[in-house]
């Protein structure tokens, strides 16, 4: 009997906590549909007294939100694709192939793991500026596509794959490249997907780098676009939060679609690969 009451209390608390947590996200959507007068009144209103779906097109008219979203996808997908592919290749060599200098080279990769991105921010900016890469896609993408974390994570995963699998393929006449593509990559899909999802969501969220590199609509991402929106349109709350909704919803959808790997990635990093 008491366990039943306790169980009901637990479920009730779960609902309550979840509801409170979602309030900001729900309010973002609700205010986005309020009228100009209602959203900017001195006393904010919570539930819209009338719904204004035309706010969506109005927000798109004020700033090219579609272009910003597309730019964000370019930026996030570009860095993710480059990092995942190059990291998988390098991680395989570090995990499986013997070559002189392997341990000190890997040591250099490891040494940069702890360095915060702000340390490389200024030299990267200077480099991109000297190469005339400001406001270009290579300038946006390349500096953020070669971090050590991808190599490190995938190497850990590859080390856990039994060597026998590859040896069997090699006895069948496969060379290293074929063994990598046919044996290792298929086995490592979960690890690669986890890395890709994390990188993609992280870069979708990246504000600082696009803020310093992008200075026109050509490469402006959603994060920076929203900041510009705030600067130029002040607190036109309904349109500001409509723009926020438009740029957040794709990421939330992506999160729900990929949460298996997302959650796996968090727990993997937290429990030392368990």
């Amino acid at each position: 009997m008491t366990t039943e009451i306790r169980q009901k209390l637990v479920v009730f608390t779960c609902f309550l906590v979840t509801a409170i947590t979602l309030v900001p996200v729900v309010m973002m959507v609700l205010v986005a549909f309020q009228s100009d007068g209602e959203s900017m009144a001195a006393k904010p209103s919570f539930w819209p007294s009338s719904w204004h779906p035309e706010n969506l097109t109005r927000a798109f008219d004020l700033v090219p939100l579609g272009k910003y979203l597309l730019n964000t996808i370019y930026f996030a997908a570009g860095t993710t694709l480059l990092e995942t592919v190059t990291a998988a290749l390098a991680a395989y060599a570090f995990a499986r192939l013997n070559f002189p200098g392997r341990s000190w080279l890997f040591g250099i990769y490891l040494a940069t793991l702890m360095i915060p991105s702000q340390v490389t921010l200024i030299p990267q900016f200077v480099l991109v500026a000297k190469l005339h890469g400001i406001d270009t896609w290579p300038g946006m993408i390349l500096p953020h596509a070669f971090t050590a974390i991808g190599v490190f994570l995938l190497r850990q995963f590859f080390l856990g794959i039994p060597r026998d699998y590859e040896e069997a393929a090699r006895l069948d006449g496969a060379n290293r490249w074929q063994a990598f593509i046919r044996v290792i990559v298929p086995l490592a899909v979960p690890a690669i997907a986890t890395l890709a999802v994390f990188k993609f969501i992280g870069q979708w969220n990246n504000l600082l780098w696009p803020l310093v590199i992008s200075n026109s609509d050509a490469t402006r991402t959603a994060s920076v676009g929203l900041q510009v929106f705030q600067d130029t349109n002040g607190t036109q709350w309904n349109l500001l939060l409509m723009a926020a909704t438009v740029t957040t919803v794709p990421l939330i959808v992506l999160f729900f679609l990929t949460q298996r790997w997302f959650i796996r990635g968090i727990t993997m990093s937290g429990l030392g690969g368990r």
């Binding site: 779960c14 906590v17 392997r102 900016f125 480099l127 600082l208 709350w237």
Partner: protein, 315 residues
């Protein structure tokens, strides 16, 4: 570390690795294959990650505004930090943010993980919904939080009003702007720790609790003597990563307060950004970024020393 023989030709001088040495010709082919695998990553890594780390050290020794030729400054940029009040206030703000937001985030994460671990049905649904803030765009949700914090009749103050509390002006208040940023940041990031802790809790063998129950252990004691030690590696991991993340807080401070009122919420990273990209004082900004790095290294090293006593690793 710095001693490197960069000869790519794998001659016999290379000491044989721990594994049994394959025939020399095969080995040299293997080395060639390895370099081909590594090269795409290595070129990018050297140019865009390792190179810039070294360059940061060099730039920190220069007077440079990007437009004119740099001049040598020696350690002047580091010496400038001492008498710079904005630097010290930025350091103070960052420390304040970290010292409050990390324990709060950990506490919320842990409580929610414990709650979800009480045999709740549809645990995955709650877990996903509670993780949602972690997967939103910081800039976008920062806008909503500005709206929530509207003085007088904003949602936060309206709720406080139900309890007879006259809420402050939050983001424009000298004393409450930082707590407002902290609350938002806890909301944004608690999901990460929650997921780690939940996985950690689920990995604790049930027999331990059953043994405790047989011995008549109270729930609090079984939490203290079973749950907490078993969870300590996960706790340690989340604390270390949270501290590193908090030291780099930027997005929400830029959007919600722009570092104000005054410099109350100007964090270290925001000060680096302003120095480098608003004052174009690249040398000074690089010096600041290295100091930030030094702080992170020191604090993390301190935590690792501390963990030996507190973290229980079960093999």
């Amino acid at each position: 570390m710095a001693i490197s023989t960069a000869d790519t030709a794998p001659v016999t001088t290379a000491p044989a690795p721990a594994t049994q040495a394959p025939p020399p010709r095969w080995r040299s082919r293997e080395a060639l294959t390895a370099w081909l695998f590594i090269l795409p990553s290595l070129i990018g890594f050297l140019i865009f990650t390792a190179g810039p780390v070294v360059a940061a050290g060099v730039i920190s020794l220069l007077n440079w505004n990007l437009f004119s030729a740099p001049t040598w400054a020696g350690l002047h940029n580091f010496a400038r930090l001492g008498p710079d009040p904005t630097f010290w206030s930025a350091l103070g703000s960052t420390a304040y943010f970290t010292l409050v937001s990390v324990p709060l985030t950990i506490l919320v994460s842990l409580l929610l993980a414990l709650l979800l671990n009480q045999g709740v049905k549809r645990i995955a649904v709650f877990r996903s919904l509670l993780l949602l803030p972690y997967a939103t765009i910081t800039v976008a949700v920062a806008f909503v939080w500005i709206w929530l914090y509207i003085p007088h009749d904003g949602l936060v103050n309206a709720v406080l009003g139900w309890f007879g509390i006259n809420g402050p002006a939050w983001l424009i208040s000298d004393n409450w702007a930082m707590p407002a940023l902290i609350l938002m940041s806890v909301w944004k990031s608690f999901g990460f720790g929650m997921v780690v802790f939940l996985a950690g809790l689920q990995a604790i063998p049930q027999q331990l609790y059953e043994a405790g129950r047989v011995d008549g252990t109270s729930p609090w004691n079984s939490f203290r003597h079973i749950t907490l030690p078993m969870l300590s590696p996960a706790l340690f991991f989340v604390i270390v990563t949270s501290v590193i993340g908090s030291f780099q807080v930027f997005d929400q401070a830029l959007i919600m307060t722009n570092g104000g009122p005054g410099t109350r919420t100007t964090t270290l990273v925001m000060y680096i950004y302003r120095t480098g990209f608003e004052n174009y004082d690249q040398g000074y900004a690089a010096a600041q970024s290295l100091v930030l790095f030094a702080f992170i290294v020191l604090i993390t090293a301190g935590q690792f020393l501390f963990q030996r006593r507190l973290v229980h690793y079960d093999n």
